[in-house]
Amino acid sequence: MTSSLRLRAGLVSIVLLAAFLGIWHLATRSTAPVATMSPEYAKLMGLTATQGKSAMPGPIDVGAKLWEHLKRPFYDNGPNDKGLGIQLGYSIARVGTGYLLAVLVAIPLGFLIGMSPLLSKALDPFIQVLKPISPLAWMPLALYTIKDSSISAIFVIFICSIWPMLLNTVFGVASVRKEWINVARTLEVGTIRRAFTVILPAAAPTILTGMRISIGIAWLVIVAAEMLVGGTGIGYFVWNEWNNLSITNVIIAILLIGVVGMLLDQILARFTRMVTFPE
């Protein structure tokens, strides 16, 4: 029954994709009447005016261009012409660095706050104020203090991915079942051992959920951050191709951002499943 459900769902997905591509193709066909104009003027006006071709590329154009990119993902022809693999690599490296730094800070700090009601109450107003700040608002301050655009981007990733992890760790640690803590207490388990053998495994699913939310946010933010700082990365690529008026490349970049985001999310989802325990 499940396999047949999966099969049917897959079929519906394919049909929907085909319909979407079909409508896209039809909507971007050449339809407008071709205006007659002098050849010099036509050169200036481009294909949209001379052949009635839509400025929006069709699925076939995008597919062909994507194939071209996929054949050569790592070429480097100077600062404004790098392969998509390189651009994505830069973005992933920035997200990875900022995110790992956030993990290193958020989880130990979350543990402390979660285990100490005093710290929890004392730090709560700061967290509540800092949490809703758009990570990009930090950018000027980061650029001014760090004086390096690439590290500033990493800082922005760090600051945006820290909150969900921190709050989930605090919540997970603070809401470990009393009876499990009592088991450790009756067994005279020390604080450190208790933290690693009872609280960490009990809070792990909640912590991993926070990490999963964080990686999603980090990937959302990196595109915007790279549009601002420029130089390298998929966000910069999008903006650069917009300046080049290459809508095809913009669409390809959008597609790849989605795919990479999905992969990152799936990796964290797999980790979450590994630490989740059935009750």
């Binding site: 009876e179 009756t186 067994l187």
Partner: protein, 306 residues
């Protein structure tokens, strides 16, 4: 009794209530247990039974008074006092073996893995879970989970076991089997046990002494009932014993009516000398002044039959 293995001396538990007033759950509570004795506490919800158990376990501190175990005043939890929780409180991310081994390695920190495992295995076998060592708690039935809880408590070879309604979440058949197991293990190992229960028949089957508590707040230990049934009693012929119904009726009468009215009707109740009730054994007195007074329940005679 000359041997006071456990002695609760004048403990009280108070919580700050609304507008500065304090709510007293119980106060000036005294009770003692001998080594190897199985004691049950019966009382209505809210009389502070669980609080008494938590204080004995060291999970909770009394507002006043002390608890002396084996000649020493307790402070905090101890590996000498194992707790079997009502909700079994197994760590769900560990297997059966892992849960028991966690307790074993907490008690003997220098033992190597093999020794811990072998020790844990002995207690898993003892509670009849051989073959389920590598299952996780979610794969076990309620009764099996509680068996793991019992194995975990026993594995640290405690001086006493504290049980907070350990079988109340189980179905009647499983409960009976586990009561048999607990009784067998406690008799075999000479374990001192303190158990909270709502089940009168469970108390009669398991306990040597039954503590009756009045309703809270302001609960007191009203009586200590000595179980007149022989130590080698069996589940099947328990109710044929001549004193069974007298005992049962006495406890139920207490729970139904006297638990509410006891404090008002007995103004001279001395919490330090709680009357010891001997069903069907009139006139037995002990000279020592600090021992519980002896009272006899009228209308109960050894000749009473089922």
């Amino acid at each position: 009794m000359t041997d006071k293995f456990i002695s609760i001396e004048g403990i009280a538990k108070r919580y700050p209530g609304a507008s500065g007033a304090t709510t007293t759950i119980f106060e000036n509570l005294w009770l003692s247990m001998a080594r190897g004795e199985f004691c049950c506490v019966i009382g209505h919800s809210g009389c502070g039974k669980t609080t008494v158990l938590n204080i004995l376990a060291g999970l909770d501190a009394p507002s006043e008074g002390t608890v002396i175990v084996d000649g020493q005043s307790i402070s905090g939890t101890s590996l000498d006092r194992a707790v079997i929780f009502q909700s079994h409180a197994l760590l769900p991310w560990r297997t059966v073996l892992g849960n028991v081994a966690y307790a074993v390695s907490s008690k003997w920190r220098r033992w190597d893995r093999a020794k811990v495992k072998a020790h844990a295995q002995t207690f898993i076998d003892l509670v009849g879970l051989t073959g389920s060592e590598h299952k996780r708690p979610s794969e076990l039935s309620g009764g099996m989970k509680q068996r793991v809880g019992i194995a975990r408590a026993l594995s640290i070879t405690p001086k006493m076991m504290l049980m907070d309604e350990p079988f109340s979440a189980l179905d009647a058949l499983t409960r009976g089997t586990l009561q048999d197991e607990v009784r067998r293990i406690c008799l075999e190992t000479g374990q001192t046990a303190f158990m909270i229960t709502h089940d009168v028949d469970e108390a009669i089957y398991l306990a040597d002494k039954i503590f009756l508590m009045t309703n809270g707040p302001g609960a007191v230990l009203a009586e200590v009932v000595e179980n007149p049934l022989p130590r080698d009693r069996g589940r099947t012929d328990l109710h044929r014993h001549p004193l069974y119904y007298a005992l049962r009726n006495h406890i139920i009468d207490f729970l139904v009516t006297r638990s509410k009215t006891f404090t008002a009707e007995t103004p001279d109740h001395d919490p330090r000398n709680v009357p010891m009730v001997h069903i069907g054994k009139p006139g037995l007195t002990i000279a020592a002044s600090d021992e519980p007074r002896q009272t006899r329940i009228p209308g109960t005679s050894p000749g009473l039959t089922a």
